[in-house]
């Protein structure tokens, strides 16, 4: 069998140099997506007329079209409409696309998280004089976060892997480097397997982190 284990192990350090790019894309996009997602979820829960319809169309579009199409639209399409955006780097375009795409999924997860908190919690908060914002911040959102963490983790894992789409617009991240090494040495299986293993290890690490966090914020709910 034509499989060179030694070669695969040998190229891993070289591939890992591009891990920061992958992490940069995934983590930055996630942070922005969470912020947009929270705002969208609050709009969905409060059913603010006017904005609600806009939010729904936004969510529908970004969930209903392929992430790759969105990426191409933003990187190649937008500069055509707005010449000022020619300056935009590929990495920036990737982050914008992943943020918008992910926020649409998160909005629904956060909405469900907020709605799964018993109505009595917010009622009790306002009954002792808290404002709506204070009730959300101190009482409702912390409980909603706990409900939303497992599904949000799924989305983040998906995002880590989807960040590999950025190679199609020329961002050199993990997969792009793997492809480069694969074609340079004609060792496709080793190179792509090494890339795959790095992604896998990354999600395992993340999963540990999430389990620890879930355990920590679950403390009030254990007898």
């Amino acid at each position: 069998m034509n499989f060179d284990l030694g070669y695969m192990i040998e190229i891993i350090p070289e591939l890992l140099k591009y891990l920061p790019m992958t992490l940069y894309l995934a983590i930055t996009s996630m942070i922005i997506a969470v912020i947009i997602g929270v705002i969208l979820a609050l709009i969905l829960v409060n059913r603010t007329p006017g904005i609600l319809q806009i939010a729904k169309v936004y969510i529908s579009f970004f969930r209903g079209t392929p992430a790759l199409v969105q990426l191409l639209l933003i990187y190649f399409g937008l500069p055509q409409l707005f010449p000022a955006m020619n300056e935009m780097s590929a990495a920036t375009a990737a982050i914008i696309a992943f943020s918008l795409n992910t926020s649409a999924y998160l909005a629904e997860i956060f909405r469900a998280g907020l709605q799964s908190v018993d109505k009595g919690q917010a009622e009790a908060a306002v009954s002792v004089g808290m404002t709506y914002a204070q009730a959300m911040r101190g009482i409702v959102i912390p409980q909603a976060v706990r409900n939303a963490i497992p599904a949000t983790g799924n989305i983040f894992i998906g995002l880590i892997k989807n960040s590999s789409l950025a190679f199609t617009i020329g961002v050199t991240e993990l997969l792009a480097q793997g492809k480069l090494m694969a074609t340079a040495n004609l060792r496709f299986f080793e190179a792509y397997l090494a890339v795959g293993l790095i992604y896998w290890a990354l999600t395992i690490l993340y999963n540990w982190l999430q389990q620890w966090y879930e355990y920590r914020i679950g403390k009030p709910y254990r007898v």
């Binding site: 018993d118 009595g120 919690q121 009622e123 009790a124 908060a125 306002v126 009954s127 002792v128 004089g129 808290m130 404002t131 709506y132 204070q134 911040r137 101190g138 009482i139 912390p142 409980q143 706990r146 403390k219 009030p220 709910y221 254990r222 007898v223």
Partner: protein, 265 residues
């Protein structure tokens, strides 16, 4: 005082409150009784706008709000006048007993944390839960949760405390301890409005009893007037059916006891 004038509320075209008028004087304990579906809980929840009334005037302490025009800021002002004890306790599940009592003091009253915790400890002591301050609600019995709920309602020092069937979802063994705590607060001449099905308790604690049925205040008076000499037919019927069901329960209980221990006299 609390003064409610011509309060109306509908849910999907079903009129639940058909023009409620009633008053509570400073330091008075008013108990509202009535059959299920009479609107008494809705009325109570309208007082702090957990349900938004369709129309009517609500005055609590020094705040007056017109329900048909009330803005969010008006509602917030009105809410600061009261606090509520809920049928299902509604303790903040992500907070310990102590944090439950202290949280509103810190975020809403802007009290210093150390002061808020000190005050909250004193209140937990008052309801007999000093040893439970670090417990989360999940680790408290129903009766303990409700006593924390009462301490939380007391903490913000409102003009009045509203009790929405505070013992209705408690196991019978915990009802007594909660009623004792409420009775003790009543002795301190705190203004209180209590919706309850506990008639003996109502008679004991109330300065005035309000009987509600079908979205109206049907009759009100001292406990003696309402329980011993009701004037309205609707009130008489309600109290009679209550006594019948109590008697039935009593009889069933005795029958069970005899069945379990036939030798007993």
């Amino acid at each position: 005082m609390i003064k409610v004038t011509d309060l109306k509320k509908s849910f999907n075209r079903t009129e639940v409150l058909k023009g409620i008028n009633f008053e509570v004087n400073d330091g008075e304990v008013v108990v509202i009784i009535g059959p299920s579906g009479s609107g008494k809980s809705t009325m109570l929840r309208c007082l702090n706008f957990l349900e938004r009334p369709d129309s009517g005037l609500i005055q609590i302490g020094d705040q007056t709000v017109d329900a048909s025009t009330a803005k969010r800021s008006d509602i917030n002002r009105l809410r600061l006048q009261t606090s509520m004890v809920f049928q299902h306790y509604n303790l903040f599940k992500n907070k310990t007993a102590l944090q439950n009592v202290a949280h509103a003091l810190i975020v809403s009253k802007k009290m210093k944390k150390s002061d808020a915790f000190e005050k909250s400890r004193a209140l937990l002591k008052e309801v007999g839960l000093s040893d439970k301050e670090d417990n989360y609600p999940v680790a408290l019995s129903g009766g303990q949760q409700q006593r924390v709920g009462i301490a939380r309602a007391l903490a913000v020092s409102p003009y009045a405390i509203l009790f929405d069937e505070p013992t209705s979802s408690l196991d019978p063994e915990w009802v007594g301890e909660v009623l004792r705590v409420i009775a003790r607060i009543a002795e301190e001449r705190k203004t209180m409005v209590i919706v309850t099905h506990e008639m003996e308790f109502a008679r004991e604690i109330a300065d005035r009893v309000v009987f509600m049925a079908d979205g109206f205040v049907v009759e009100e008076g001292t406990p003696e007037e309402i329980f011993d000499h009701p004037k309205n037919e609707r009130t008489k019927k309600f109290l009679q059916s209550y006594r019948n069901s109590s008697a039935r329960r009593e009889a069933a209980l005795q029958a069970t006891e005899q069945f379990v221990s036939p030798e007993a006299p």
